[in-house]
Symmetry: C2
Subunit: 198 residues, 2 copies
């Protein structure tokens, strides 16, 4: 078997799903995808999830835009994602590493105001003082315009979805710049939930 567990050198990627809790979930997902410019990333969807690979700014730009377009329908939409960078493995999408840093969807989505509740967890693999790295990134989130609170196995973020995505992207960039050899981050985000926050 090809050992295809993670990504090639420094290409970043995300394995994610959008879950609209509505009968017309297909229309919401395809409608959101049609509004997003994915020309600077490698993208593939199957029956479980969607994979996006490329440079860090573009994988966050694309996932943020898909989520905001889906949530902007007013549906209760959950976003579940695992972002990853730095593990040796496959090479699909390597060509997209030549793209520049100009993101393609920011202008179209940054004016969408959408409150979101998020839980994120950071997993610096490959050893070292990984708990210290996690705590430092949680502290840094407090300066990014979102409400930060503790929960089990994760950190909770509440606020504007655009600010939350921008903050999570910065966590990822900081981990790369700190020299972490392999970083994984999970994100669960919910918009328009009928449940009230506890």
């Amino acid at each position: 078997m090809t050992q295809f567990v993670c990504d090639s050198n420094r290409i970043a990627g995300v394995n994610f799903s959008i879950h609209p809790k509505r009968d017309d979930f297909v229309e919401i997902i395809t409608g959101a995808l049609e509004k997003v410019d994915t020309s600077k990333v490698w993208i593939e969807t199957d029956d479980v999830s969607t994979l996006v690979r490329g440079r860090i700014p573009h994988i966050f730009d694309v996932t943020k835009a898909i989520y905001l377009h889906a949530a902007n329908t007013g549906a209760h939409v959950a976003f579940e994602a695992t972002y990853s960078v730095g593990c040796p493995g496959d090479t699909s999408g390597e060509v997209y590493m030549a793209e520049d840093d100009i993101v393609l969807n920011k202008e179209k989505v940054d004016d969408i105001s959408q409150q979101a509740a998020t839980k994120f967890a950071l997993y610096p693999l490959g050893g070292g003082d990984y708990m210290d790295q996690i705590y430092a990134q949680i502290e840094a989130m407090k300066d990014r315009g979102v409400e930060v609170s503790p929960t089990h196995y994760a950190t909770r973020l509440d606020g504007e979805a655009t600010k939350i995505f921008n903050g999570l992207e910065q966590v990822f960039i900081d981990m790369e710049e700190s020299g972490s050899s392999h970083t994984v981050m999970t994100v669960s985000m919910s918009a328009n939930s009928p449940s009230t926050k506890k």
Copy 2:
């Protein structure tokens, strides 16, 4: 701020969500929860996810049962979970570590036949030969009656949901027995999807 990122010594836990893609998602979720005996675990739900903490057999028994009861409605249901054990931190649910190994939901759900497509990823934190540990667990899954195939950032499992959950529980037990200090496993499972497998 309380640094509440992960679990206390050897208590296991899971942070998960069930996402039925239907207008009646609330009824599907609450209906599934009502059918599950959660008396041997600590459980708490908020607007983003549900937390279950306790001994390994019970956290898998409870999540498997909730998923199978929800999927058994025929709805397209996604299950997104992060299982975790071994990180220093909070203590909620410690009292449940005194429970025995007799699982409470197995008899009621093991006769539910439900095909599921799953992607799982294993993150042994705290260093060591973590890629070797991951590859060994992927190999071991092949003997557990499910179809195993590679995908980006994860390993795909196809087959009966009961066998998939039992296999994932065994991965977790094996990691504990191997002495891994802190193990995290993410699981994305989909049932009754209108999309065909690629």
